[in-house]
């Protein structure tokens, strides 16, 4: 069973980044705060990335969404630019996040 997070990246200046770069930033934050073991427990995976909206759907294991939300909250930069990563919604289905 998995949980899905809708993550939006906000910044004061426009920042161009790819889904892989966002996923790298998330993995670095998860590894930094929960370690390798925690990263395996959370098991975050990118499902979808929309560069026009700067939004992504990230999956994690059920019961680990709190940890992933905390790790996402602690991301402060991507590609050297200052950003804020916000989790807008948490759901059990991708469909409800897409609508």
């Amino acid at each position: 069973m998995r949980r899905y997070l809708l993550v939006k990246v906000c910044s004061e200046k426009p920042v161009a980044f790819t889904g892989d770069q966002l996923m790298d930033a998330i993995m670095v934050a998860v590894r930094k705060f929960f370690g390798e073991f925690g990263a395996n427990q959370i098991d975050p995976r990118m499902i979808r990335f929309d560069s026009s909206k700067a939004e992504a759907i990230i999956a994690c294991r059920k019961d680990q969404e709190g940890e992933l939300q905390a790790a996402v909250a602690l991301i402060t930069e991507i590609c050297g630019s200052s950003i804020a990563a916000l989790t807008l919604k948490v759901s059990g289905t991708i469909k409800s996040l897409s609508t």
């Binding site: 940890e67 905390a70 602690l74």
Partner: protein, 206 residues
Amino acid sequence: MAGYIGAALTIPSATSKIQLMQLRSIFAELGIETFVRTDITCTNRQDLLRQLRRSRTLSDVLAVKCTNHAVGLVAARDRRVDMIFFDPAKRNVWFDHAIANVARAALEVNLSAVISNTLYLGKITKEINTARDHHVGIILSSGSISPALIRTPEQMAALGVLLGLSKDQARNALSSLPWSILQQNRDRQSNQYIEEGVKVVRSVNS
């Protein structure tokens, strides 16, 4: 702003009423109610008490930054103080058991400090554990000075859990407790309020 219904703003003393109204209208357009918050920073007891006398009636929320242990003790005990907070960068002052033992004010945890420097996680976790041991109220606030440090309420609650709170405690620290403090202060400012525990319920026409 996703999920927020109120914000306490620290306003510089030089801000005019018109500027404050403009600021409030910006938040009101987003459906966010604003409250004026005063942060007192001082280095000794006399200065703290003088500033408390001056600031209490002017603001909806009154917080004291504890720059040393003596100020922390006085501020934590004083009824006029709603919240106390500590600078995690200062190594010689923190929320210890002596302060927690006498605290009437809640402990405010600024999550912007954690977001901007994660080395403070340990110190803040320790302070939260001390507050929990002594049943002192804990308030999670963004403490942000820029939009980049603002997070959604759910993220703030998740960070609270990371810092050692339970899920319910983290939610209370974000919503119930701050709201009850604001409500209490509004009641105090009303004409019906006499003193703590005494208020006018009904006036009798003679």
